[in-house]
Structure formats: structure tokens, C-alpha cells
């Protein structure tokens, strides 16, 4: 179990101040929480995206651990190589220190272009924690839709047009897809529930094999909410059951948090400019469809976790 907030605050910060991510960006908040669980002796591989671009503008770096970025679609494949090199060199006595491995990708780099590499890497069983920071669009290139973008969201490639009002379909349930890979540990987390998140990272790191964490990372730019409300927006995503907190440990599904009262999705939607058009005339049907989708997915999840 993670320590108290006080304990955690005394741990070294592996992602330091001075990065250039937007004020209120959810991703570095979540990543700093995750890394508190990890401690040093870590190598991170990062997919191209906001976090990569915002933390390592040569000659500066915000990382206090070894970090590698090679391209967009291959954080998992790159890490496969690092982890394999570690096993090889360790076996030969050429590396003595212990290391653990974390791959980091946005939803674009994970759900979409990097999915094949991720699926391959976990099937091969590399001992790494793959963390997807899911902000529901390609933010780095200017807020284009991804397969993590919710139905109806206004993005620059799924604009709220007069004929097609935002993103046409529902989002991909990647966490469940990763659970179907039957890896030792899969979980969904949110920086609004830091204790839950840190505990999941600890379990992921302790897993004897690949682990996958899907972490909600609100993006004030793309979601168009106040940068001071990032954590609130994340919390409402959990309390509306849009982003349930659960884990699948060795095939056992478990809710790690159950909202006292499941809030209506509208409360979450209305905080975000990307859904503003759904609150104008004609938008109601899509909001209902979104609510119905959340209800169905939640019911399925509760049943699985029963």
C-alpha cells in the first residue's frame, strides 16, 4: 500500500519542474504520482506526444531517470529492447543494478498507432509497465480525434459541424482489450484518486510480467476546461462512471472504487467546451446515447467484478 501523502511528498521527484506542458495538464500530474510509486532504478520509454515534446527540449530534460524516446508508435517495442538488453547484460554480469521499465504513451500512441507494438510486447511477456495517459485525442498535433475520443466530442478532425456533430462513434475499450491479453496486471486509474493510482502502480511494478495502466489525463486545452479544474474534471469522470477505477489482477476483475452515487454524465460533459455543442438544440440525443453507453459499460463492469 502507498504511504501517506506526507511519505509520498518526501520521495524524489523523477519528473521535475521546468517542463513545458500546459498549466493544468493532467498528464504530468498523473505521471509524477505514478513515479512516486516507482522510485529510482527506472528506465522510461516515451512515445511521441505532448509529454515527450514538453519534457525534453534539447539541451534540457525534465527527467531524473534514464529516458528514451525513439518514435510515436513504438514505446512498447523500444522498451522490449531495453528490457531484453537488461536481461542479457544482467545474466552476463555486465549490469549489476536492478532496473524496472515503464513505457509511456498517449492515447494516440497506445490505442491507435502503437497498438500493434503494445499487443506484441505484452504477448511476449516483457516485464514492463505500460502506462497510457489518456487525454482522448492527439493533443500534441492540435487536438485530432483518436479511438479514445468519446462520442460527440469536438476535435479538429471530428469538428462539431452542422451535418456531423463531433466524433461519430464511441471510444475503444482499451483497458478491457489489454485485460483480454491475459497479462498479470491491468488497471484503470485517475490522478483524482492518487492513493488508488499509486497503489496500482506498485502492483503493476511488482507484477511478474507485463502490466498495463490506463490513466485518465484531462487536457485543459483540448477538453476546454479551466486549467485549475483538472483534478475536478478527472474526479467527475470517475463519479459519473465514464472512467471507472478497477483492476484485473491475474484475471480477477475488481472495482477499486465505487462512487457513492453515480452522477449523471451531463455534470462532467458540461464542464468541457468540447461537448458544448451537445447542450445546444439537437445535441440531446447524443448526450443520451453517451449516457446509455456509460450505463451499459458500467453495468457490464459491475457484473464482471461481482
Amino acid at each position: 500500500m502507498p504511504g501517506t501523502l506526507k511519505d509520498l511528498s518526501r520521495r524524489p521527484s523523477l519528473l521535475t519542474a521546468g517542463h513545458r506542458l500546459c498549466a493544468g495538464c493532467g498528464a504530468p500530474i498523473a505521471i509524477r504520482q505514478l513515479l512516486l510509486a516507482a522510485g529510482t532504478g527506472l528506465v522510461i520509454s516515451n512515445a511521441t506526444g505532448c509529454v515527450e515534446v514538453g519534457t525534453t527540449i534539447y539541451p534540457q530534460t525534465a527527467w531524473n531517470v534514464s529516458w528514451i524516446h525513439s518514435a510515436f508508435e513504438n514505446a512498447a517495442a523500444t522498451m522490449s529492447g531495453v528490457e531484453t538488453a537488461y536481461r542479457s547484460l544482467k545474466k552476463q554480469g555486465k549490469v549489476r543494478a536492478d532496473f524496472r521499465f515503464v513505457a509511456l504513451g498517449g492515447d494516440g500512441g497506445t490505442y491507435d498507432i502503437g497498438f500493434q507494438a503494445l499487443s506484441g510486447a505484452v504477448e511476449r511477456g516483457h516485464r514492463m509497465v505500460y502506462v497510457c495517459y489518456d487525454n482522448g485525442a492527439y493533443m500534441n498535433t492540435g487536438i485530432q480525434r483518436s479511438s479514445a475520443t468519446p462520442l460527440g466530442a469536438d476535435t479538429t478532425t471530428s469538428p462539431a459541424g452542422t451535418r456531423i456533430p463531433g466524433k461519430p462513434g464511441h471510444r475503444k475499450d482499451l483497458t478491457a482489450i489489454m485485460a483480454a491479453h491475459d497479462v498479470p496486471y491491468v488497471a484503470q486509474a485517475s490522478p483524482s484518486h492518487w492513493q488508488d493510482l499509486v497503489a496500482k502502480m506498485e502492483k503493476a511494478l511488482a507484477a511478474d510480467g507485463p502490466a498495463f495502466l490506463n490513466v485518465l489525463a484531462p487536457c485543459p486545452r483540448g477538453w476546454r476546461h479551466e486549467s485549475s479544474e483538472t483534478i475536478e474534471v478527472a474526479r467527475l469522470a470517475v463519479d459519473t462512471c465514464f472512467w471507472p477505477l478497477y483492476e484485473v489482477a491475474k484475471g480477477a476483475w475488481r472495482l477499486t472504487y465505487r462512487p457513492g452515487k453515480k452522477k449523471p454524465l451531463d455534470e462532467w460533459l458540461k464542464l468541457q467546451g468540447r461537448f458544448a455543442h451537445l447542450f445546444r438544440p439537437g445535441g440531446e440525443a447524443i448526450r443520451q446515447e453517451l449516457q446509455a453507453w456509460v450505463d451499459r459499460k458500467w453495468a457490464e463492469l459491475v457484473a464482471r467484478c461481482a
Binding site: 537488461y86 545474466k91 552476463q92 500493434q116 507494438a117
Partner: protein, 409 residues
């Protein structure tokens, strides 16, 4: 001392890889390279190497994993060709920019489309500007020798660039040849230990690899890579000298075959050079002073040395044979580089281009002899006015032979 064995080109590559015994191999099968991966898998599964083998799900991931592995300080190899090399393309540039000394056999095969599994050089030529050193091999012996030398070239402190070692798909990869191999210990001693200065697994010194380099830094990184290609030239020769001391087999930037008094010269890569040697011998028997220049090192391009070799007084015409096209309308990649190399020479012979053998189309002895016939005409009166001839292929439309520079078989 070497021992004589019979191996195919693929077996020779796998054999060299076993002796090099890299820390990590990440690879994916593709015809005609597949056998390398299969043989190497057996070495791994029979405990004959200490290598950790990553059976990746694609070549893009193969190269990505190799990059991660080499960045972590491990000696790392892979192998591929054709569509696999094309799929790696994005990562090839990143591997060289990271200055990672990967070594990769490439079993040259045509690029789709149409899909075709047979030999040409389109795959490697598509990667010629990727910052990889490229060595070409006429035979299984050269595949073996080049791979062992490649490790030393790639890892040399002044170089730190990845190397691909090319051989002709099926022709060399599946042809059985007698070659000389060195004892395991000799190869192991020759390649030595790999000890990179910077890597990801140094607990005392965490590093950031692959940051965003903007207008203030990107150009310097690229300039340094270009400089490393210059540095590679003397290193390639120094490694060759050491290799010769070990094995008695000598290598340079290119092989000059009967060039001392040659008047008509062909330039060609890989296995076709073997057939061309026969053609040169035959022409010499008939009284024609034919010669062959077979580049071994295509990247870095040894342009000064090649210009010296091809502008010797007495050389009257040069034919460059390309097993790839640039689709620029001005011929193949080797032709363009050779011609550019000669441009500043005070006196230079006419240089013609012959594109041949795409998709494994057989190039016959008679066709190669006919190229020298052409060169004789070129030497006499400039020959045909088209610089580029497609050898042994049907014309686009009948009656278009001359206009299209196409010669029917």
C-alpha cells in the same frame, strides 16, 4: 587458420552471427532472409549463443527493439529485406541518429509492387540516405567476412554508426558455396567486447535519449552524423587490414578486377559481379581489354577513390549496372553516384547506365557481354544517345525499343 565449409549465404550470415554472439537479436522473418532467423533461433534454443532473442511482431518493432537494446548498452543485431526494410524505414534514420552500432544482414529483394520475392537492390537503395553504412557482398564468403568486420566498424569510437551487410536474395542467400570460416575464438577475439560510454542502464548517470532537437540543435546532430561517415572511411580500411592479418582475405572500398590496363569497365554490386568476372575473362580471351569495379562500400561512398580508379588514362568507357531504379528518368542510384564522382575529374570517360534484373529477372552471360559491346561503340563514337538502358526487359510498346532505351532479351 580458416576451415573450408559449404554454406549458403543465409547460413554464412547466421554462422557469423553465432560467432559474434550478440547480447540481443530482435528479428522478424521475410523471404529470402527467413532462414537467417530460423538458423539463429536454433542456436538460441540449443544454447549455442548467450543471445537473448526477441521474436517481435513486425520489422518496425524489430528495429525499435534493436534501438532500445543498443541504447541500453547491448551489442544488438537483426536481419531483414524488402518490405521488412521498408517497414523499418522510419526507425533506420533514428538508429543512425542515435549513433547506435547495430549490424544487420540485408538479403536484397525487390520492393512491392507488384509483390515479388526475388532479388534486386531497391530495398537497400531505398535506405541509402538513412545514415547506415552499407557493405555489399558478392558471395557467401563476403557475407561472412563483411558481417564480422561490420561489428568493428559500427562500434569504432570514431564511427558509431549502424551497418547493413547486403547480399543477393536467392542467388547468394540460397546458393551453396565453399567458403573459409574462422574458429569461434578467433572471431570472438576479433570483435571484442562492446563497452559503450553512455547507456540507459547506468545507475550513476541517468540519460535522456531522443529529445526534441529544434532549429538550434538538429542541424548539428545531422552534421555530426555526416562527419561520422567521413570518419568511417579510414576505419573501414583499418578493420580490413586487421581482418586480412587474421584471415589472409583482403578487402577495400571496392574490388578492381583486371582493371590495371582495362579500357572498357563495368561497375556492379553483389553477385552480378561474379558473372561479370566471367564475362571479363571471356572478353579478354577475345582480345578486349575489359575490367570490373565492384563496390563493396556504397555508404560512405568512396567517391575520390572511385574517381581515381575510373579516370585512369586508358579507360575509354564505363558501364554502371544498377539493380534498382530511381524513377527519376536518369537511371539508377549507383550510376548517379558514380557519374557525380567523376564530374570534377579533368578527363573522364563516358558513363552509361544499365538497369537490369529487377524482381529477380535473370541477367545472362550474353547480356553482360553485350554491355561491353555497347561500351566499345560508346568509346568509338559516344554510342547510343540515351544514358540509360533497360537490359533484358520487354519494351513498353513494340517499336519503342530505341526510344525507351530498352533492349529485348
Amino acid at each position: 587458420m580458416g576451415q573450408k565449409v559449404a554454406l549458403t549465404g543465409n547460413e554464412a550470415a547466421a554462422f557469423a552471427m553465432r560467432q559474434i554472439d550478440p547480447d540481443v537479436v530482435a528479428a522478424y522473418p521475410i523471404t529470402p532472409q527467413t532462414e537467417i532467423v530460423q538458423h539463429f533461433s536454433s542456436f538460441v534454443h540449443d544454447g549455442r549463443v548467450r543471445t537473448e532473442f526477441v521474436t517481435v511482431e513486425s520489422e518496425h518493432s524489430a528495429m525499435s527493439a534493436c534501438i532500445g537494446s543498443a541504447a541500453a548498452g547491448a551489442r544488438t543485431m537483426t536481419a531483414t529485406c524488402s518490405q521488412g526494410l521498408a517497414l523499418m524505414w522510419e526507425m533506420l534514420y533514428i538508429a543512425s541518429a542515435f549513433r547506435l552500432p547495430l549490424v544487420m544482414p540485408v538479403v536484397n529483394r525487390a520492393l512491392s509492387g507488384p509483390i515479388n520475392i526475388h532479388c534486386d537492390h531497391s530495398d537497400a537503395m531505398g535506405a541509402r540516405d538513412s545514415g547506415w553504412i552499407q557493405l555489399y557482398s558478392e558471395s557467401a564468403q563476403e557475407v561472412y567476412d563483411n558481417l564480422i568486420q561490420a561489428v568493428r566498424i559500427a562500434e569504432h569510437a570514431q564511427v558509431h554508426l549502424p551497418v547493413m551487410v547486403c547480399q543477393d536474395g536467392f542467388v547468394t542467400s540460397h546458393g551453396l558455396e565453399n567458403l573459409e570460416i574462422e574458429p569461434d575464438e578467433a572471431v570472438r577475439a576479433f570483435v571484442g567486447e562492446y563497452r559503450p560510454e553512455y547507456h540507459l542502464l547506468d545507475p550513476e548517470r541517468p540519460i535522456t535519449m531522443g529529445p526534441l532537437a529544434l532549429q538550434n540543435a538538429y542541424f548539428e546532430a545531422r552534421r555530426q552524423l555526416a562527419a561520422a561517415m567521413h570518419e568511417a572511411k579510414p576505419v573501414i580500411l583499418a578493420v580490413a587490414r586487421e581482418f586480412e592479418a587474421l584471415t589472409g582475405r583482403s578487402y577495400g572500398f571496392f574490388e578492381a578486377y583486371r582493371m590495371a590496363d582495362a579500357e572498357l569497365v563495368a561497375v556492379a554490386l553483389n553477385s552480378t559481379a561474379g558473372t561479370l568476372k566471367e564475362a571479363v575473362d571471356e572478353l579478354r580471351r577475345q582480345g578486349t581489354r575489359a575490367g570490373l569495379l565492384k563496390p563493396r562500400v556504397f555508404r560512405p561512398f568512396p567517391w575520390e577513390e572511385m574517381a581515381d580508379a575510373l579516370t585512369r588514362p586508358g579507360i575509354r568507357a564505363v558501364a554502371v549496372l544498377d539493380r534498382a531504379d530511381t524513377n527519376s528518368t536518369l537511371g539508377g542510384p549507383l550510376f548517379n553516384d558514380v557519374r557525380a564522382a567523376l564530374f570534377d575529374a579533368g578527363r573522364r570517360p563516358p558513363v552509361k547506365n544499365y538497369i537490369y534484373g529487377l524482381g529477380g529477372r535473370d541477367v545472362s552471360f550474353a547480356e553482360l557481354v553485350s554491355v561491353f559491346g555497347d561500351l566499345r561503340a560508346t568509346a568509338r563514337d559516344g554510342g547510343t544517345d540515351t544514358p540509360v538502358t533497360y537490359l533484358g526487359v520487354q519494351p513498353r510498346r513494340s517499336g519503342e525499343l530505341a526510344a525507351a532505351g530498352t533492349r529485348r532479351r
